[in-house]
């Protein structure tokens, strides 16, 4: 927008005003973030890793973090890359990927997703209210990530600490995700 002196419109999160949780589980909306959906052939993975400043993991169900960016393995040639900090215009991840000069497909999905941070001793139990994955630390250690099912929606799950997860969800499903997590959080405290 040209410099008109007026304020930019502010974006309201789809999670704004929602609250829930229990004595065992804390639920909170994650701050705004940059995100790209990234597809890269094996021969170009190192070029994209260099350009993004984070090594794209090639082992299933793993993630890597560096320089304020986290790359989540979703499939053999597919990653979700999350960058800290929201933005007004532009996406530094898109720009970095473009700067790689290597063949890839990147789509800005910063506003397609929102994230819910789930933490506390009952965090895994709350997520397991709707997710069939084994969330024991052995099967799903810190740093593990996966696209999976949560009730009737799809999510991307990342374990950020022994008792903390990030749930990435499409924004139009966020109300449902938060509601089911709140139910799970309540059950986890029983």
């Amino acid at each position: 927008m040209v410099d008109s002196g007026i304020e930019m419109a502010t974006r309201t999160s789809s999670l704004f005003g929602l609250h829930g949780g229990s004595s065992a589980v804390r639920l909170e909306a994650a701050p705004a973030a940059e995100r790209i959906s990234l597809r890269v052939h094996a021969e170009n993975v190192s070029a994209l890793s260099g350009a993004l400043g984070v090594d794209l993991p090639v082992k299933p169900k793993t993630s890597a973090s560096a320089n304020g960016r986290t790359a989540l393995w979703l499939g053999p040639d597919e990653w979700l890359v999350i960058g800290e900090g929201g933005y007004d215009i532009g996406n530094s991840l898109m720009q970095a990927a473009a700067n790689s000069g290597a063949l890839h497909s990147a789509t800005d999905v910063s506003h397609r997703n929102v994230a819910i941070l789930v933490s506390g001793p009952g965090a895994a139990a709350a997520i397991n209210a709707g997710c069939p994955q084994d969330l024991s630390l052995k099967a799903f250690p810190v740093g593990a990530c996966s696209r999976t099912i949560f009730g009737k929606i799809e999510i991307v799950l990342l374990r950020t600490a022994e008792d903390a997860f990030r749930v990435e969800v499409w924004r139009s499903f966020s109300d449902y995700a938060f509601g089911l997590l709140a139910e799970g959080a309540r059950d986890a405290a029983l």
Binding site: P60, K61, L74, G75, P132, S146, R147, T148, I149, E154
Partner: protein, 118 residues
């Protein structure tokens, strides 16, 4: 709940993450515009619908997103093996085991299979 081994994720995952995608190893005709209607119908519509050992495509749609192939027993619903898309039809590793599975007299009641499922 069935667990299905994804050859890309390299682990067993819940059936809820997967979707069936029809019979496997059906090659698309080389020159599809040249074939007759009957040949097209054969390729496009007609399936073997085997009772017992069958080869199917599955997709880990709510996981890694990849298509893969599976050998499955349609009587018992057991997955005998899975392997990556693009690989030729794989022999069942232990034939005796497959036969034993095929001949097994399973009593399939909801109470027996799903009664304690959450």
């Amino acid at each position: 709940m069935l667990l299905i081994h994804c050859p890309y994720c390299e682990e067993d995952r819940s059936e809820l993450e997967f979707r069936w995608a029809g019979e496997a190893h059906i090659a698309r005709p080389e020159n599809i515009a040249a074939i007759s209607d009957e040949e097209f119908a054969e390729f496009f519509f007609l399936r073997n619908n085997e009772k017992g050992l069958t080869y199917e495509r599955w997709r880990h749609i709510h996981g890694c997103g990849r298509f893969f192939n599976a050998a499955r027993d349609t009587v018992s619903d057991r997955f005998l093996m899975t392997y990556k898309a693009g690989m030729p039809k794989q022999p069942i590793p232990v034939m005796e085991k497959a036969v034993a599975i095929a001949e097994e007299k399973t009593v399939e009641t909801w109470e027996a299979t799903e009664g304690d499922a959450r």
